[in-house]
């Protein structure tokens, strides 16, 4: 088992023929992901990377019966692309693009919730189930099929957690980057639910950062609903207040959202804290006593 994606995933790439879409689709196909086709308005009928291209999601869904889509279109068009995919009947959408206006995401979130669609991202590295399917921009080779579920708000930090758990032999069941935006499609809690129910996942690594209170909400949820051990690292312990640290969502506002508060809350709720970025893997080993 795993979560969200596996070898049965039939993927459509939105923004397929653009430079980002092309680069990452090539890598995903090489990894073994079943990309069935792509959508680029105006390029319908052509073939790209050996797969058919369609003008719209409706056409692609009709022809190929996909069950997931990934979005590489520019930020200003993402609202339309996500809604188009959701309305075409896709139930899992991964949006990689960074820089979508927050008010667009408010609207998107409401629409996808109404349609019962799961959105991962935006502004995220995507989702991977090692050895089965890679829907995203993460380097496939650092992953290894295994027992750790990883959830993170950051791309490269996820890779650190992956690398460390691979090096120590644990591997990963699935890894999900939920993204660094203020209004993400899916929350830590959504992913914790899935990992808790997944047989393959023995322990969960939650990589958080400053800003908002997603980690605090996750901590409360873990206390009441998660039986598996959770190991967490929170980035931004040295970040100053009031400054946006790269990610739109990473800002300490009005004294709220500090790493210290998050760590305290997580500890209080029984989460194991890796106090240093380089000790995520060793903390997992310590908790699993291996």
């Amino acid at each position: 088992m795993s979560i969200l994606v596996n070898k049965d995933t039939r993927l459509i790439v939105q923004g397929f023929t653009g430079s980002q879409g092309t680069l990452h689709s090539e890598q995903s196909i090489e990894y073994g992901t079943n990309i069935v086709g792509g959508v680029t308005p105006g390029k319908g009928g052509m073939e790209h990377l050996g797969k058919p291209v369609f003008n719209s999601m409706d056409e692609a869904v009709e022809e190929l019966d996909p069950n997931a889509s990934i979005i590489f279109v520019p930020a200003k068009f993402c609202k339309e692309s996500i809604i188009e995919s959701a309305q075409a009947g896709i139930k899992l959408i991964v949006c990689i693009t960074e820089g979508i206006p927050t008010l667009d995401m408010l609207e998107v979130k409401k629409r996808i919730d109404d349609l019962g669609v799961r959105l991962i991202g935006p502004n995220c590295p995507g989702v991977i189930t090692p050895g089965e399917a890679k829907l995203g921009i993460m380097p496939g080779n650092i992953h290894k099929p295994g027992s750790i579920g990883i959830i993170s708000r950051s791309g490269t930090l996820t890779y650190e957690a992956v690398k460390q758990t691979t090096d120590l032999g644990f591997g990963q069941s699935s890894c999900v980057g939920i993204g660094g935006d203020p209004i993400p499609g899916s929350s830590f809690i959504d992913m914790l639910k899935l990992f808790e129910d997944d047989d393959q996942t023995e322990a969960i690594v939650l990589v958080g950062e400053i800003g908002g209170n997603a980690e605090e909400a996750a901590a409360e949820y873990i206390k009441n609903n998660v039986t598996k051990p959770v190991i967490s690292y929170i980035a931004g312990q040295t970040a100053p207040a009031g400054k946006r640290m790269g990610h739109a969502g990473a800002i300490i506002a009005g004294g709220k959202g500090t790493a210290k508060d998050k760590i305290e809350k997580l500890k209080e709720c029984g989460v194991h804290i890796a106090d240093n970025l380089v000790s995520i893997g060793s903390k997992v080993a310590e908790v699993l006593q291996r």
Partner: protein
């Protein structure tokens, strides 16, 4: 992106929100004409900077003659205003807003933000205005209301009524307030705001509502659809290094330490700063060089980091994802030569082709400490910074 008060008020006026009659001036010569044009016998002069706390720092003053206004303008224009919200240097004053004087009978508070938890736009209102709202939230939470709203929803007047009750408005003011909330929400949505704060919203001695201040923050990601707002950008209010970085599509935040950091990815950049601190050092900056650490971008990043005279060593931490580390290594070497970096550089490469990258770095004809383990790399940087 932040707006100045006068820019925010211009938007308010465009959306039929009540603001004082006022005029913006850029030199002391313009004061007398501005006062005459506004009319009356007393005025308020307000230094325009991107920071709150201006009143307590002498940046806002009541004047009874244009001459006093000229003195105020001569004192502030071209100088920096330091408030509790700025750093020790303060923010440069390049313009002054002159407004008609308002007789205030009561000060209230009103703001709107995008709330992450409820995933709605939320109005925050309080009967306690003109003070720091965080203090009110802490000491008198019963005097604050948080009211989620939905644009285009029919229940908006009811939401406005809920807030009006907490603000203890009378019937006439409540009617004014209902249309005010409607206009503010329209402004918030149409102009892609991320924050809107009116502190204070006042009741004048004639019993009317008036927006006495305007703090407006626009979602930078949405500026592509607001060229008219982009024109309001005031670079002088930004940290020069941060502004330069933003121009080059790098995200940079300057800090107090002496270890320069160049990292790919925002999360890893924060994690790297924390790691430096963990081993007893102090980061000089946050810098996300982005997913494609090309020679050009790395060179630009070095230039920005080295602008800071405190920086004694630079720690480069790159987790090669799709981009191969051997290419990144070549880019780093070329960039160090191009920028003529004279202080020690510690490079940690991990991920895609990291071994090849390290080999290239260690064979380079310039001195680079190439260390693959992040803990060891951070320790080395801390040691070199001492």
């Amino acid at each position: 992106m932040n707006l100045h008060e006068y820019q925010g008020k211009a938007l308010f006026a465009e959306y039929n929100l009540p603001v004082s009659k006022g005029k913006i001036i850029y030199s002391a010569d313009e004061v007398t004409d501005a006062c005459n044009e506004i009319g009356g016998t007393s005025w308020v002069v307000k230094a325009q900077v991107h920071a709150g706390g201006r009143g307590k720092s002498g940046g806002v003053q009541l004047i009874n003659t244009p001459e006093d206004g000229i003195k105020f303008a001569e004192k502030w224009l071209g100088n920096n205003l330091v408030t509790y919200q700025t750093d020790a240097k303060g923010q440069p004053v390049n313009s002054i807003l002159i407004e008609e004087c308002t007789n205030i009978s009561q000060e209230l508070y009103l703001s709107a933000v995008i709330d992450r938890d409820s995933q709605k736009i939320v109005f925050i209102g309080s009967s306690e205005g003109g003070v720091n709202i965080e203090d009110v939230a802490k000491n008198m939470p019963e005097k604050i209301i948080y009211q989620g709203v939905v644009y285009g929803d029919k229940s908006l007047p009811d939401s406005a009524l809920n807030i009006a009750k907490v603000l203890k408005l009378n019937d006439i003011q409540t009617n004014q307030f209902i249309s005010m909330i409607d206009n503010l929400l329209r402004l918030f949505v149409e102009k892609d705001l991320s924050l809107l704060e009116i502190n204070p919203l006042v009741i004048t001695d004639s019993g009317d509502l008036l927006c006495l201040d305007a703090k407006v923050n626009i979602d930078s990601n949405a500026l592509f659809r607001h060229p008219e707002l982009l024109e309001m950008y005031d670079e002088t209010q930004e940290d020069p290094q941060e502004a330069e970085a933003a121009k080059n599509d790098l995200s940079y935040v300057s800090l107090d330490g002496n270890i320069g950091c160049m990292v790919n990815g925002a999360g890893l950049a924060m994690g790297t700063m924390d790691t430096i601190k963990f081993y007893g050092g102090n980061p000089a900056n946050f810098l996300d060089v982005g997913g494609t650490a090309t020679q050009e971008r790395v060179a630009k990043a070095f230039k920005i980091i080295l602008e800071d005279p405190d920086v004694k060593v630079v720690l480069v931490n790159i987790f090669g994802g799709i981009v191969r580390c051997d290419l990144i290594a070549k880019g780093i070497i070329a960039a160090i030569k191009e920028v003529e970096v004279k202080i020690p550089v510690v490079v940690r490469l991990e991920g895609n082709s990291a071994d090849k990258g390290s080999k290239i770095l260690s064979k380079a004809d310039i001195k680079i400490d190439s260390i693959n383990d992040l803990a060891d790399a951070a320790k080395k940087a801390v040691e070199l910074a001492k």
